[in-house]
Symmetry: C2
Subunit: 336 residues, 2 copies
């Protein structure tokens, strides 16, 4: 299966020096994957010239503007019609690409994607979904920040989309879906979550009820649904805690001679541990609910992390995530 | 300074076998601290007989009932007027104790405390506050679950209480207060948080603006304010992630002979690390906004952790937290 991914090379903290080598490595690694490198031609071409090995499946698409990381989404949408981000999304809309990836401004990417690609029938608001590691594998959480206030029916739509995504990508037949709440009992939580619980129960989702924050990491649930405010806080809190733990571990292992020797000896073990919790392997959040596949990379992603985001986009195409969500939503509409 | 703490010995997952030894150790360790052991007399006395050393500053207060961990708070309040939890709070109300500690049902403890002690003037709803470790020390977060929906002015009250708590306990003159949001810009977040931001700016708090989830652990803020839904998710998510990381670290260090040897050698370093992030040292959440000091211990606390909760209660008495919050609220009212 031939898959074409449009990569916004200018987005993120690093731009072409990170995005171009990542795209090249991925195209060399995954058979049948073509990459359209979208960005300022001279900058992209300069990086492309530094790539060793086969570059036949990479081509440059010039875009004359760049969306800044702190730019207003509305402004980026209105005034930068030739930005690398916009052109990458346009390529999906025209059918020239099957998916696109950007490490740029999340708000701008969402605004441009909604405007250009439109939402799927039955979806009021797209959501951002990402996998987080668990003891047994991973859990998908959505929404991670696109929608600060959600209605119960929007939360149900997130559940349907998340469930379809996991079915498609992880080949799980009936993913377990939970609603993020502050207690397991039905009476807990705010009104929106309580009403959403009723909708989930009445749906044909494999709904396991309320879950709490710790359940995200303990592996008993496949899809955790919440509004974007709560999801974003959960994600960022996790990032902060993981960063603190890593720093403290490093500090302790470099405190004095004995600790340094111990660190040397423990190195293979610590490396194996680090691999397991390496957040870079989870880079790539899906903008779900659009008529096209759009993946957002972390802005600070390095080349290794950015490859994972491109791979996620390719996997979603390969597994027909869009068709799966579309079919799920239309069957839900027939029931209703 | 003589301080008397009433301890609900029946609360939590373990009851007297954990709470009584913890209380005894604390009374032996901290000069001037007296403990009232509240609970079923035979159960408490049986544990007390097993204590070695001085028990002269421990006395038993009989209470004939126990609030169950999953009991409805309303029911516990109405029908169990002689529960160990209720009696412990009553002792604070009557002045026989300066503070009380319970590892029991959070909802019931909050309901009983509000009913018996009442809220401070200017406080609509009490909040639950706890310290979380950071790279530099710790950050207080509130509310952690008492209030699922909050108005902007309630969030401001949380900020005032949190700031007073940190001033009193940590001797920080002007604690940095942040509003938990999903971006640093003023335009981010939901309406409640945006309006709260305006109130914070107009207050005399040392308000540093919006903070994000990762800031909780990075040490640039002393008090993080949020509604109880968001705070509870942040806390539980942290617990889940920390538990997963600890499990994975243990797994990697016990995988095969080399890893086990490395673990032996790295043991002192790993122990030092564990001490730094030991959540038991952060056990004890303050129920703020009441006319009395009430501390909630984690239900699963062991004896070491439970001691920290009692010590927190004693520290709040010693540092005049109640008076500090009261003075702050009344000066705020004069300004308004």
């Amino acid at each position: 299966m031939e898959i074409t991914v449009a990569v916004d090379c200018m987005g993120g903290d690093h731009g072409p020096p990170v995005t171009v080598p990542a795209a090249a490595k991925l195209a060399q690694r995954i058979p049948g994957c073509r990459i359209l490198l979208v960005g300022l031609e001279p900058d992209v071409a300069a990086q492309l010239r530094r790539i060793h090995g086969d570059v036949s499946r990479l081509s440059i698409v010039h875009a004359s503007e760049v969306v800044e990381m702190d730019e207003s989404p509305a402004l980026a949408l209105r005034s930068k019609k030739n930005s690398s981000m916009r052109v990458a999304v346009d390529l999906v809309q025209s059918g020239a690409a099957d998916a696109c990836v950007s490490a740029g401004n999340t708000g701008a990417l969402m605004a441009i994607s909604r405007f250009v690609l439109k939402t799927l029938p039955g979806i009021e608001r797209p959501a951002i979904a990402s996998a987080l590691p668990t003891l047994q594998g991973h859990t998908y959480v959505l929404d991670l920040g696109a929608n600060v206030d959600c209605t119960p029916s929007q939360l149900l739509q997130f559940g349907l989309m998340g469930s379809s995504l996991v079915s498609a990508v992880d080949h799980v037949k009936r993913p377990r879906v939970g609603l993020l709440n502050i207690g397991e009992e039905d009476i807990k939580g705010n009104d929106t979550v309580k009403q959403a619980g009723e909708l989930f129960k009445a749906s044909d989702l494999n709904y396991i009820g309320n879950v709490e924050g710790d359940d995200i990491y303990l592996g008993g649930v496949d899809v955790v649904v919440c509004d974007g405010f709560v999801g974003n806080v959960a994600l960022k809190t996790s990032e902060g805690l993981a960063q603190m733990i890593a720093t403290l571990l490093r500090q302790e292992f470099s405190r004095g001679l004995y600790s340094r020797l111990a660190a040397l000896i423990a190195l293979p073990v610590l490396r194996a541990f680090k691999n397991k919790v390496d957040h870079r392997r989870y880079n790539g959040a899906s903008l779900l609910g659009l008529r096209g596949i759009v993946v957002k990379s972390h802005g600070s992603a390095d080349s290794f992390a950015f490859q994972w985001a491109i791979e996620r986009a390719a996997e979603e195409v390969r597994n027909g995530v869009l068709e799966r969500i579309g079919a799920r939503l239309s069957s839900e509409r027939e029931v209703a």
